[in-house]
């Protein structure tokens, strides 16, 4: 992990107190949401994978809140924070983690496939680097349709080694598409450090290969991240110049709940980063400026706690998707007629042994070996 620049910026910003508090509150919300999600996971209310943003809040909030209403955002499977920062309903995001019909993807996607189309958050993608060409496609659509927005595409340091990253950035550079590529560099792709995965560990330098500006920013500094993202989005929108922004940050947790996050990094390293906790840093700056209300903003903490608790309650009370809806959202409406001659009476050509009966697996759940659940 490259060391973070020790330079601490003073709180120089044109943002109003309300706006500063909004950023602070969003980071707190993400932190609390993730802590509670982790706890719900251990209670077996959330299944599958769970990738937490804890430690990365400044990068998540700084990038996601930098957009204009016409812009679009894509990110990786570590997507809870982006969804919340983009304004998706905390309740519906938690419900998705719980696999409920009321979730943002109606229980079809889970933790990795959050989205909020209305707010232009187009997912939550599960294959490392896979969303990068798709984001470039969204930028191409904006260009073809002569729409004013730009696309913000977030991915981790691990994605930089994929072919999809290279191909996508080459196309964006070649075609002058309005896209900002944000590398959330938390130092590790699963358990492999950047130094062990990239010949050039200063990842932003790769931008040069695609004739783009590349910048590195302190990912623990929400205002620095936000300022850089806003500036690069303007460049994309106004001058059709795509760019790369590398945010240096850290995840306190492992890659997912099964990874304790310790085998490949030292306790000292984790402690060092915790000493630069993005929420603590920002709270201190707000305190100095006198923005934080009563008692260091304890009221906000309590408000956020309540919001997350309400989300958990909402998720718990929400209905599971009805098994009879198994075949919903597979194809568009035309498919019903198109598949009708394949296996009459059964969906999508499937041979139905008991027509109209949707079976459930009644065997004891086969839990995969924990080590495989990364």
């Amino acid at each position: 992990m490259s060391t973070v620049s020790p330079t601490e910026r003073r709180l120089e910003t044109n943002l109003s107190d309300d706006e500063l508090l909004r950023l602070h509150r969003l980071m707190l919300l993400i932190r609390r949401f993730e802590e509670r999600a982790e706890e719900q996971y251990t209670r077996d209310r959330i299944g599958g994978y769970l990738h937490l943003n804890i430690g990365e809040e400044a990068t998540v909030v700084g990038t996601s809140t930098a957009i204009q209403p016409d812009d679009y955002v894509f990110c990786s499977y570590r997507d809870h924070g982006v969804a919340l920062a983009m304004g998706a309903s905390t309740q519906q995001v938690m419900a998705e983690l719980f696999g409920k019909e009321t979730g943002v993807a109606h229980g079809r996607g889970g933790s990795m496939h959050l989205l909020d189309v209305k707010r232009h958050f187009l997912g939550g993608w599960g294959i490392v680097g896979g969303q990068i060409p798709i984001a470039v496609g969204a930028a191409l659509a904006l260009d073809n349709l002569e729409k004013p927005g730009a696309v913000l595409c977030l991915f981790g340091d691990g994605a930089v080694a994929t072919g999809a990253f290279h191909e996508a950035l080459n196309l964006a550079g070649l075609w002058h598409l309005p896209c900002v590529f944000v590398i959330t560099n938390n130092g590790y792709g699963m358990g492999t450090s950047v130094e062990r995965s990239s010949a050039e560990p200063e990842l932003y330098k790769r931008a040069a290969a695609y004739k783009m500006p590349g910048e590195r920013v302190d990912g623990q500094d929400v205002l620095a991240v936000r300022e850089a993202t806003q500036r690069l989005l303007r460049l994309a929108r106004d001058e059709r110049q795509p760019s790369v922004l590398e945010c240096l940050t850290y995840r306190y947790r492992g890659h997912s709940p099964i990874d304790p996050g310790k085998g490949y990094r030292t306790p000292e390293e984790i402690e060092e980063w915790r000493g630069r906790d993005p929420i603590t840093l920002f709270a201190q700056r707000l305190q100095e400026r006198g923005v934080l209300p009563d008692n260091g903003g304890q009221g906000i903490v309590e408000e956020v706690d309540r919001e997350v608790q309400e989300a958990i309650d909402f998720a718990l009370q929400s209905p599971d998707p009805d098994p009879s809806a198994l075949y919903h959202h597979i194809y568009g409406e035309a498919a019903v007629e198109q598949f009708a001659r394949m296996a009459p009476g059964a969906p999508f050509g499937e041979r139905s042994i008991s027509p109209g009966v949707v079976t459930q697996d009644t065997a004891a759940p086969d839990t995969p070996d924990e080590a495989t659940l990364n």
Binding site: G130, G137, A138, N144, L171, G332, M342, P344
Partner: protein, 358 residues
């Protein structure tokens, strides 16, 4: 009705749909400013519609298929041409893991109205990496639709249906078919997805095929007719969805089924067909369902070897005789005399390689 080529039919479909709907755009390698694709289907469209509607790409299939997926999620209707089917392998993650999954994993909030055109060819000494037919891989995947037109008429009508469809469509074109002529209405027409055709009616045997194999099946049916055997040919046109109704209706009439594909039969399209036919027509069958496809080897270069590896006319003919023999319609031994595999397992084909290449 005009007689035009398969290539012209596809081009008409593209031109008409691009004129009809400003959201339709083309993307691929050398489809625009220069048209060096084997298909040459897009010739002239760049000049008519400009660089944003006909977008030339670098050799970057994973990149630009992903770009197509993204553009489709925002409402455009990309029609992507991959130079030949073989090159889509480097982009399979975007096709299988992304395009096919998006509608479901985002709970119906996003969709991918995209067409990927894939020319398929075998039999021109193109060798192992350029002679493949793995349409079964796509047809195996929920979320995708897979079409394979054989005639100019169906090429135009199905491509228009594919472009208007709201789901990702894999569109297989016969590289050996581009110069084939056929009658195509000049009116705006579509061929529905999921409906097979019966280009030749018969009463003794059903030969089910798709793509270029249909043309072979029709030639074999002609040959069989000379021997007093009436073979019906079903052209699937659509692999997913599959029109089992037409297939089963035919087999119930003929009581015999031979399924043919260009690709490897093991775990292939004909495996799917055989399974469904035995289930749908079990009591109607006078013989086990037979399958015929390419030899289970990577395609070799030498003409003698390639010719032997293809699902060539002779191989199909012998498979047809085999079904008829097993059903008791022909005397025992006729089929075998007609040519079983030789001792070393290599089929000695009588079909010259160049004839196969078409």
């Amino acid at each position: 009705m005009a007689q035009i080529t398969y290539r012209q039919a596809l081009q008409q479909a593209l031109r008409e749909e691009m004129t009809r709907d400003a959201r339709v755009f083309l993307m691929g390698e050398e489809i625009g400013e220069v048209t060096l694709t084997p298909s040459k289907v897009t010739e002239g469209l760049f000049q008519q519609f400009g660089p944003k509607r006909v977008r030339d790409t670098p050799i970057s299939e994973e990149g630009f298929i992903g770009v197509g997926v993204g553009a489709a999620t925002l409402g455009l209707r990309p029609v992507i041409e991959i130079m030949t089917i073989n090159f889509i392998l480097v982009a399979m993650d975007q096709v299988i893991n992304h395009a096919a999954k998006i509608r479901c994993m985002f709970g119906g909030e996003l969709s991918v109205p995209m067409v990927i055109r894939l020319p398929v060819a075998q039999g021109s000494q193109l060798t192992a990496q350029h002679s493949q037919s793995f349409e079964g891989w796509f047809a195996n995947t929920p979320g995708l639709k897979v079409l394979a037109p054989t005639t100019p008429h169906d090429a135009k009508g199905l491509l228009k249906s594919a472009i208007r469809d709201d789901d990702p469509v894999i569109f297989l074109e016969g590289l050996q078919s581009y110069s084939e002529r056929g009658e195509v209405p000049e009116t705006d027409f579509t061929v529905p997805i999921g409906l097979a055709a019966v280009p030749r009616e018969g009463s003794d045997l059903t030969i089910v095929a798709h793509g270029f194999a249909v043309r072979r099946a029709l030639r074999v049916a002609e040959r069989l007719e000379g021997e007093g055997i009436s073979a019906e040919v079903v052209d699937l046109r659509s692999l997913r969805p599959l029109d089992m109704e037409t297939v089963a209706t035919s087999v119930r009439k003929t009581h015999r089924a031979l399924c043919v594909e260009q690709g490897w039969p093991t775990y292939g399209v004909t495996a799917e067909l055989a399974s469904r036919i035995q289930r749908a027509c079990f009591t109607d069958l006078d013989a086990p369902v037979e399958r015929c496809g390419g030899a289970e080897v990577p395609m070799p270069y030498a003409r003698t070897l390639e010719s032997a590896a293809l699902a060539n006319d002779d191989k199909i003919y012998r498979a047809a005789r085999q079904v008829l023999t097993e059903s008791g319609m022909l005397g025992r031994g006729v089929g075998r005399d007609g040519g079983a595999p030789s001792g070393n397992g290599v089929v000695r084909s009588g079909t010259p390689a160049r004839a196969v290449a078409g």
